[in-house]
Amino acid sequence: MQSNLISDAVSSQRRSEKRRWSVIGILLIILVCSFILDVATGPSLLNVKNVANALLNLIGFPVEVDPTTKVIVASLRLPIAIMAVVVGGVLGVGGAEMQTLLNNSMASPYTLGMAAAAGFGAALMLYFGSLGIDTNIAVPLGAFVCCMLAATFLFALATMRHISSGQLILAGIALLFLFQSLLSLVQFVSSPELSQQILFWLFGSLSKASWTNLIIIISVTVVCMAFLIRDAWKLTALRLGEERAKSLGVNITQLRLRTLLIVAIMTATVTSFVGIIGFVGIVAPNIAKMLVGEDQRFFLPLSFIIGAFLLSSASVLSKVIVPGALFPIGIVTAIIGVPFFFWLILGKRR
């Protein structure tokens, strides 16, 4: 009798796992659709079917395809579309892990000043004329270094024994203000042309996507994700509260540092290539949490997929809002993000 009840409960757990995998599957399909749409939209209007064929052809399926479409897809559209997916995914995961680590659903690398620090680094590089290095290398490098600098400060705090998550968030917000002021300072002392250049970098843009950049970003992402997934259960345990996680044998200080380092590297890498893109980091994990809960085995991949979807669809929108012109994607994400954010906040009141 009792064993029946237990096997019932086992299968009900399996059903719940299956349900969550199908949620992930469905969102993956939606992501693929928005990805194809992203490849299909642009100045030279391509037909969705031809684009789909070109994509199939590129991944090795023997499909007939128009050569011009194939060239446009392969060399122009595809890198940008993939960039949107990877960057969105990374921002989603970065937010998810920050929220887990700091036990606060409003935390993200953006709100903790990491993005602002990257912006400052990029601005500084532009101001100093890239220090004689190629701008395409110098600016991302400056952004990466400054972002890691902000993260290092947070690490230093996180290693202190009796610092709470709340204090860490406050320190992060203070950093956000500090780097924003420094950024304004650089803009203030720059010439109008330079200031505008900085501004455009800050808007965030996927248009600098190239296969080389992509290889860097994808490699970093794969390695970082592997580390995070390895810690999946520990991160889940962390959500029970730090003291309880400790009681379950989690080394909190180590886990904090490791996760913070991984998130910092991921954020710094993507931010240095695409500029500042807000809101994905906060919104994506919150939606993922609603759909599959906080078991990191599901929460982590879904945060990635939703982040990827948000940025991919923002990329589509950025191309269709003003036909023929590319609207800065950083602006689009915030504009879709804000109503969404309100909906989330109000929804939570129930």
């Binding site: 086992v10 959500r239 379950l248 044998g249």
Partner: protein, 278 residues
Amino acid sequence: MLQVTHLNVVLDELVLAKNMSFTLEPGKVNVIIGPNGTGKSTLLKTLFGDIQAKSGEISFANQTLQRKQLSQWRKQFGYMPQDIRLDVELSVLEVVLLGQLNTLGFRLDDTVIEEALTALDKIGLLHLANRDVNKLSGGQCQMILFAQALMRKPKILMLDEPVSALDLHFQHVLLDHLDTQTKQQDWITVMVLHDLNLAAQYADNLLVLKDGQLIASGHPSDILNPALVKAVYNVDADVTKDASGVPFVRTIRRHTTTSTHVENTKQRVFNPTAEFLI
């Protein structure tokens, strides 16, 4: 045997353990009692290695607690902290599963899940397995966290006020289960309780703490008496014994304003309760 010798713990200049020495034996339920803020939780945290002692030694099975081998030390412990809030989107089963954190893989085996469910079944909460923990009552959360602590298959089990949110029924379910398991598995069980009568019923060994000092220890029937209750809590009480020799503490309401008790420690010159009653 868990052995504590000459333990001194000082936190923020507050002495929470003063030259404390005691030994806890396997297969025994040890209950710590004492007034609020007297160092009970601190003592548990110190045993767990979460708070560093100023001096003294803690050892178990030929192993001494050292900061370098903390994770090794902690493997032997099941520890249930006082805080029972569970504000997280996880199911009851998932929370219990986390008790076995170190053995969980990305895919869960049926056996692991069954084990967690059996643990829930034993405390009568199998029906909650698939519910969200953030929709449960405080008492239900506490029972679930108890199941989680047991999942670690500890050699030493420490519980900080494990029945604080439980109704009468579940207080006894938890404590009975704890008692049987302690004896069957030969655990060293240490828990903090506030209810002297529960302590009297379930303790094999009672440790009485006051102002960081171990002022009495032994079997409840040997040490629980009106003088002890008065000395520790500044409350008058009758202590009677039932047919099986278990002490029963009945406190006596204070009517008079002549309470003369003045605590003789520096930290607590002002006693709000006493002042209020005057």
